[in-house]
Symmetry: C2
Subunit: 375 residues, 2 copies
C-alpha cells in the first residue's frame, strides 16, 4: 500500500479543464509545511509522480527556521526528504522540494494548496498579490475562519478575493498523523461551480488510503470545519460531567443539527447532504471523541467552571488557543445580532458556559428546556 | 429532578384522539420487564401520575420467575417497587403493578407498550389475539426485527397484523441503565399516519431527562434500530485492527449512508431526515463506541478471525447471540437476491468477514476499492 502501490487511476474520469490542452501538465505548490501541510505534500507528490497530467515536482513553501543543529529547515527537508521538525519519520516523496522563498514557490504553479495556520493566511495572501498565475486554481485546507457579525469571513473567499483566483476547500475527519501512517482516511472537497476542477483536486489527493469525495458546496464544507469545534466543546462538558453515552450522543446530534441550520442561515445554498459527508458527521465524531477542544472542555467541566478556559489552555496547550471557544463567541454574536439565539440553544449555552455566565451543568439544563418547549 | 419534579406539561399540545372524549382516561400496560422494560415502566408511570388524561396505574406484565429467596419476582417487584432482578436499586414508581397474567395485564389497556426480548414477541402476540381492546394503540420498543428475502419483517407490522391494532415504534440512543439513573437521553417515536397518536406517545414517555421527538416514518425509525448493529460490527473491526480515529469515523459514516440507502430500497417512504434523529446518527454513535456488537467484533479482529463469532459470543456474552451478525446475514441475502451487493460494499464486506470468507482487514480493503471505483 502507499508509495509502492501501482497507480490505479487509469480509469479515472476528467482530468480538469487545463488537461484539455494537449501536453499541458499541471504544476502544484503547497503553501505551508506543518504536520498537515507535510502530509498534504506527501499525498500530492505520490500522485504527481504517477499521473501524466502533472509535473512530478511539488514545491512546498516552508517558513524558514534554523534547527538546533544549525541546519536550515528547508535544507534538512531537501536532504532527508522528511520534515524533521513537524512530521519526523515520514518520507514525503523525493519530488517534494522545500523552498523558503514564497514568491519562487508559487510562481510556476497553476494549482495552489493553502495549508498554513489560520493566523498566517492574511499576510501570505497580501504578499502573493500579483505573484500567482492568473489561471491558477487554489484549494484551502485551513480550518477555522472567522464568523463576524456582518457574516462569516470564509478563508476560501478571502484567498479568492485577494488573489483573483477560484478557491475550493478540502475538509474532513483528517488527523494528520494517522494519514501520515497511511491509515485509511477520507475527506470532502467543496467546490463552487466547476466540476472538472473538483475532479482534478480529487485526483491530486486520492491515494489508496485517502478517499476524497467532491461536493458542490464550498460554504457548507468549510463551515463544518469550524463549527465542529463548538460541538466538541459541548461533548467535552458532557464527558466532564460524567453524563454517559446517551447524553453525549444526544448532544452531538443536537450540535450537528445546529451546525446545519446555522450554515443554512448564513448561506441558503448549503445542502443537507453535506452533513452526511466526511466534513460533517465523520469530522464531528472524531473531534468529539478526540481532539483538544473536547479535552480542555472536559477539564473545564471537571473543575466546575472555576478555572477559566484561558488558564486551562495555558496549562494544557502550551500557548495555543482553542478554536471552539473563539468560534462560539463569534457565532453567539451573529445569532444575538439577528435575534436568533433561541433557535440555537446548544450554541448559545456553550458560549454562556465558556464565558462563565452559566455553570457547565447548564449543558443538560439546556436539554431539559427542550423538553418543556418542544420544537 | 425526576420523580419529585413538579409536572411541566401544562402547556403541552394535543392529548391524542381518545382524549377528545371528555373524561376519558387512557390506561397503559407495559408488556415486558427486563431492564429496558422496567425503565420504560418508570418513565410511563411518572407521567400517568402527573397527567390527568391517564389513569395512574401502569400494569407491567412480568414473565414470572422464582427468585433464589423463594419469592416470586412479581411479588418482589410489588413489595419493593423495584425490579430486583433486572433493574435493582431503581424505584419504578408505586403506581407500577407487576402482573404475571398476560391477559389480565392487557385487558383494560388502550395503550400497549411492547418491550420484550425479540424472540418472545411471536408467542406473546399469538396468545394476545382477541384479548386486547379493539381501540388499543401499540408501540414497540423492541430492536431487532428480521430481514427476510421477501422483505423485512418489521415487529411493528407483525404486532399490528396479529392484533388488528395500529403500532408505532420508539427507538434511539437508549442505554437503559443510564436512563434509569435519570441521565439525560432522547428517543425517536416513529408513527404511521396519526400525529395525535404520536403526540400521545411523546407525552407518555417525555420526562425532564428523557426527550422524545416524533417522526412520521415507522419503517425508517424501526430499521435504524436493527441496522446500527451491523455498523457497530464494522466499527469493532476497525478498533481491533487499531486503525485509528479517521478510519473509524469514515466507517461509521459509510455505515450510516448504507443504512439510509438500504431503508429507502425497502421502503420508498423512508425520509433522509430520520437519520439525523436520535434513532439514526445518535444511536449509531453510542452503539459504535459502546455496546456488545462492537466489543465482540473487536475481539474477533484482534484474533485475526481465527476464533469464530459463535465461540467469542459463548465466551463473552454468556449464551446471548449478537444481533448484528444475524442481521447482516439477512441483509446480505436480501441484497444478493436483488443483485445489489455492489451498492452496499460495507454491509457485504461485514458479512463476508463474519462468515469467515474474508479476513477482518478486508474492512479497509473495501475502503480502498471505493477509491478505485468512486461512486
Amino acid at each position: 500500500m502507499g508509495e509502492n502501490a501501482t497507480t490505479h487511476h487509469t480509469n479515472s474520469a476528467n482530468n480538469g479543464a487545463n488537461d484539455n490542452q494537449i501536453g499541458f501538465k499541471s504544476r502544484v505548490s503547497v503553501i505551508g509545511s506543518g504536520s498537515w501541510g507535510s502530509v498534504a505534500a506527501k499525498l500530492v507528490a505520490f500522485n504527481t509522480l504517477n499521473l501524466s497530467s502533472f509535473h512530478d515536482e511539488v514545491k512546498m513553501w516552508v517558513f524558514e527556521e534554523t534547527l538546533q543543529s544549525g541546519e536550515k529547515l528547508t535544507d534538512a527537508i531537501n536532504r532527508t526528504n522528511e520534515n524533521v521538525k513537524y512530521l519526523p519519520g515520514i518520507k514525503l516523496g523525493k519530488n517534494v522540494i522545500a523552498d523558503p522563498d514564497l514568491d519562487n514557490a508559487v510562481k510556476d504553479a497553476n494549482m495552489l494548496v493553502f495549508v498554513t495556520p489560520h493566523q498566517f493566511i492574511d499576510n501570505i495572501c497580501k504578499s502573493l498579490v500579483d505573484k500567482v498565475r492568473s489561471d491558477a486554481e487554489a484549494i484551502s485546507l485551513i480550518k477555522g475562519m472567522e464568523v463576524k457579525i456582518e457574516g462569516p469571513c470564509l478563508i476560501s473567499t478571502y484567498i479568492s478575493e485577494q488573489l483573483g483566483i477560484n478557491c475550493s476547500v478540502l475538509m474532513g475527519a483528517n488527523l494528520a498523523n494517522e494519514i501520515a501512517e497511511e491509515k485509511f482516511s477520507e475527506a470532502t472537497v467543496g467546490y463552487r461551480n466547476n466540476r472538472e476542477i473538483a475532479e482534478q483536486w480529487v485526483q491530486l489527493f486520492t491515494t489508496p488510503y485517502f478517499m476524497v469525495t467532491p461536493v458542490q458546496d464550498v460554504e457548507g464544507v468549510e463551515l463544518c470545519g469550524t463549527l465542529k469545534n463548538v460541538v466538541a466543546i459541548a461533548a467535552g462538558f458532557v464527558d466532564g460531567l460524567d453524563m454517559g453515552n446517551n447524553t453525549k450522543a444526544a448532544i452531538i446530534r443536537f450540535g450537528l443539527r445546529e451546525m446545519r441550520e446555522f450554515c443554512k442561515l448564513l448561506f441558503s445554498s448549503v445542502k443537507d447532504d453535506t452533513f452526511f459527508e466526511s466534513c460533517g458527521v465523520a469530522d464531528v465524531i472524531t473531534t468529539c471523541f478526540g481532539g483538544r477542544n473536547r479535552k480542555v472542555a472536559e477539564a473545564f467541566a471537571r473543575n466546575g467552571g472555576k478555572r477559566s478556559f484561558d488558564e486551562l489552555e495555558a496549562e494544557m496547550l502550551q500557548g495555543q488557543k482553542l478554536q471552539g471557544v473563539t468560534t462560539v463567541r463569534e457565532v453567539y454574536e451573529v445569532l444575538r445580532h439577528r435575534g436568533l439565539l433561541e433557535l440555537f440553544p446548544l450554541f448559545a449555552t456553550v458560549h454562556e458556559i465558556c464565558s462563565g455566565c452559566l455553570p457547565p451543568s447548564a449543558i443538560v439544563i439546556y436539554s431539559e428546556k427542550k423538553n418543556i418547549f418542544p420544537v
